[in-house]
Amino acid sequence: MTISRRQLLVLLPAAAVAWKYVLAGTPEESPNYRMDGHWWGMLIDVTKCIGCGNCVRACQTENDVPDGFFRTWVERYHTTDWHMENPEVVSPDGGKEGFPTVKPDEAGKYFFVPKLCNHCADSPCTQVCPVGATFVSPDGVVLIDPKYCLGCAYCVQACPYGCRYIHPKKEVADKCTLCYHRITKGLTTACCEACPTGARQLADLKDPKDPIHEFIRTHSVQVLKPQMATGAKAFYNGIDGSVR
């Protein structure tokens, strides 16, 4: 096929326009959402978690997470009086189908700890990215730009909480987005929506009316690995020092 000079003159601007569209993405948005009005986090009340795995399944459904990989998962801790610092931690298939039952006469303490990206304000994972593919958004959510990610996995190693993985099909880093496509539309995350006991609650730290402020004031809430100063925003109630 030959292209005449006239055709080329028409085609070039058209290609330029198309390319511009490719670069700009496909904006189709929640118009009332203001990024500067939010600072997202999550409150996890371990005393309410029953280890049903609803959150894990909901996350996989909502975000098309491949089997064997997890954006959120549930761990069951078992601490005994003897080695508090060495808990036995199990998470069969991320707790997706629940956990084996425990007999009432078993020694020690059992509890479930749902894990997810902590959406750190000073996140180690975003700092190591060599290409600017992962970042903390202006509303405090750690996101990945799949079009920019090279799949080098520096961030996977950098995350102290083990929340990232390389997507087996896309071959780029993948992780919890705090259901960014939901929270910007006024919905809660899929895991919070599916949690039957209210053990997980989406929290907006910039919203003075958010119940998290009162909850943190009145409970002994902590973040994971505080010594790493990551500015983690997954707030845990009811965990002890054995949880890492």
Partner: protein
């Protein structure tokens, strides 16, 4: 001015350098996405792209706009704060096309056991039963209404056979 006596080739080299730099700037202008640096060292448009993905869980607020009878049943019951899709699964497709996407009814013997099977690992005070002992294999719905599981007028602990802990 003996230093610059034969400096002509240096200026030509400088000119070449400036030209290369300009070419670099032009290429960079084309290659770097427009929104890069809009908020920080990343592509600002990525935020919009991530935010524009479709949802699969419709959210209980959406369910409640139509299923007002269920809301009424749930109110005041033990399951008042359990969201619809916690049991029924992701149903945004049903919201988009209520006529054709018909959600299937969950099998209570499997569904209820997921949460209520007794295990010492669960928080004390959470109602738990040994399903085989509690109902002898009968479907939970035989005695309990899943939307408000307490039996009779009692909105507290279920008094069903076997008794909930």
């Amino acid at each position: 001015m003996s230093v610059f006596k034969d400096a002509g080739h240096l200026f030509r080299f400088l000119g070449l350098f400036v030209l290369a730099f300009l070419v670099f700037l032009v290429i960079r202008g084309f290659v770097v996405p427009k929104s890069f640096g809009q908020y920080g060292h990343y592509r600002g448009a990525a935020i919009t792209e991530i935010a524009s993905r479709p949802v699969k869980f419709a959210g209980h607020q959406t369910c409640e706009t139509c299923h007002t009878d269920i809301v009424e049943t749930k109110t005041g019951g033990k399951h008042a704060h359990v969201n619809c899709e916690a049991c029924h699964g992701a149903l945004a497709a049903h919201v988009d096309d209520p006529g054709n996407v018909i959600p299937h009814k969950p099998e209570t013997a499997v569904l209820c056991a997921r949460c209520h099977t007794a295990s010492a690992a669960k928080p004390q005070g959470f109602p738990q039963v040994d399903p085989a002992d509690h109902s002898g294999g009968a479907s939970c719905e035989t005695c309990h209404n899943p939307h408000s599981p307490a039996i009779g007028d009692d909105t507290g602990i279920s008094t069903a056979k076997g008794g909930a802990k």
